[in-house]
């Protein structure tokens, strides 16, 4: 029965295989169709057991590391070839939490460096809940936008979970950038911002490439444009909300002249 199951699936989706836990889940689902075998609890409350979600966490260390290394490479487009392209939620979830931690750390380092000699340092705790909400909302909503966009150009290879996976792993680039953002040089910060935009957008589009290859040019540019616009919006919100407390004048990096006064007013507006 197991062989038939795998064969069945492989006809529909030649590039995606099933893992052990997925097979077990399918068997359980098929058993579920026989109501005599199931208790009431098992029929309705299966959603609340751990086993239900286990198929989304079916990863090993090597797989996660391979995916993370792949995410740093914006041109390869081979993300869905690793481990059979099975969607998983382990990577996105923990990369998200690491990102929240590093951003909170970075903001506090900046604040610490701007300390006046006699001042006592106040750790800015309020940023952690705000950061959490921002990051979680971003990770929930943006893959849905991508999935809707991909559905509009009528492809069905990538499900919503695939979009969650790839978006979660694309955020890995932001982790070292958020730490480097604590360097108080405005030129470096803008360069880092541009790099992240470029890296994330090209990583996502090169992995959507299989869908985009056969499209007419307008639709292709529309999808690429949508990805880029969403990323730009998020990056700008991120930089100007969380890193806006940098006072470049105080750090002695910008001389107080009339021409540069406007620039420093925009960058350090607080």
């Amino acid at each position: 029965m197991l062989d038939n199951l795998n064969q069945d699936v492989s006809i529909l989706q030649p590039s995606l295989q099933m893992t052990d836990s997925q097979v077990q889940n399918r068997i359980r689902q098929m058993k579920m169709e026989d109501p005599d075998d199931q208790t009431c609890y098992q029929r309705f409350c299966n959603l609340f057991t751990i086993e239900y979600y286990r198929e989304y966490f079916d990863v090993t260390t090597d797989l996660v590391i391979a995916k993370v290394v792949n995410a740093f490479n914006p041109f390869s487009g081979t993300f869905f070839d690793i481990g059979g392209g099975i969607p998983e939620l382990y990577g996105p979830f923990w990369i998200l939490n690491t990102l929240i931690f590093t951003t909170a750390l970075s903001v506090n380092i900046i604040k610490y460096m701007q300390l006046q000699p006699g001042e006592h340092f106040e750790y800015q705790f309020q940023i952690v809940p705000i950061l959490t909400i921002f990051m979680y909302l971003k990770t929930l909503i943006v893959p849905m936008i991508y999935r809707v966009a991909l559905k509009c150009v009528s492809q069905d290879r990538l499900t919503l979970l695939h979009c969650f996976t790839i978006y979660g792993y694309s955020a890995v680039v932001m982790i070292p950038i958020s730490l480097l953002n604590s360097i108080p040089n405005p030129a470096i910060q803008w360069m880092l911002l541009v790099y992240v935009l470029f890296a994330q957008t090209s990583f996502l589009t090169s992995n959507f490439n299989q869908e985009l290859k056969y499209l007419p040019k307008e639709k292709k540019y529309m999808i690429v444009g949508l990805v880029a616009v969403v990323q730009i919006t998020i990056m700008i919100l991120y930089k100007f909300y969380f890193f806006s407390s940098i006072n470049y004048q105080q750090l002695g990096l910008v001389k107080k002249r009339t021409t540069t006064h406007l620039l420093s007013h925009i960058l350090g507006a607080n």
Partner: protein
């Protein structure tokens, strides 16, 4: 594989195995000790907490010696989390309530999330045992926070960094032996990484007091 799994397809069966063992012992003891003075009960609980703390203070890499930690209790983690949250909250004048709330939620929520993560990855951990171990292993970070609070004026930034770094490594090693013994070889790093992140998050709060 599902046969050996304590939380097999029938969730109640597996759970009863662990709950019965822990609670039956306590019930038996309680029936006999219902008449004893309150001080005796408190002292016994405190002894149990101190006994478990001794397992944290000397990290044991062999799993067999950590077996006593399986009689989980949540008093120790509660006391340690309250102490940590209060210590970190005292030093901040403006937002001590935010700090207290954040630390408390991060500690309990973080322990819960790490345990659920380990279970989702296929580990054979009991939920409360794992929360108990993670809670007890916060003890070194607690010590570092208290030391830094009371000797604030003598410590420069780098000395604080060293103290908190040592406390963080100590905490991580203490919980490592328990947690990694539950997982497969190929999933050890990905189940230990969240613990590392959790203790690092708590440690960074201590440096910037």
């Amino acid at each position: 594989m599902t046969d050996n799994h304590p939380f097999g397809s029938g969730m109640f069966q597996g759970q009863a195995k662990f709950v019965d063992y822990a609670h039956m012992n306590q019930q038996e003891v309680q029936v006999n000790t219902l008449d004893e003075p309150v001080l005796d009960t408190l002292l016994r609980d405190i002894n149990m907490i101190l006994y478990k703390l001794s397992y944290v203070i000397i990290p044991r890499m062999k799993e067999t010696q950590g077996r006593k930690l399986r009689n989980w209790d949540l008093w120790g983690p509660l006391l340690l989390s309250l102490l940590l949250a209060m210590t970190l909250g005292i030093n901040s004048n403006q937002s001590s309530d935010t700090i207290f709330g954040t630390i408390f939620i991060i500690m309990w929520g973080g322990s819960a999330v790490i345990t659920v993560n380990a279970k989702l990855l296929g580990g054979q951990v009991s939920f409360f045992q794992s929360v108990c171990v993670l809670g007890y292993c916060v003890f070194p970070i607690n010590v570092a926070a208290v030391v830094i609070t009371f000797l604030q004026s003598y410590f420069g930034f780098f000395l604080r960094l060293i103290i908190v770094g040592v406390a963080f490594l100590w905490s991580t090693f203490s919980s490592l032996s328990f947690m990694s013994s539950m997982m497969n070889e190929e999933k050890k790093v990905i189940s230990v990484y969240p613990i590392f992140l959790f203790y690092m998050f708590l440690s960074w709060f201590c440096i910037f007091i």
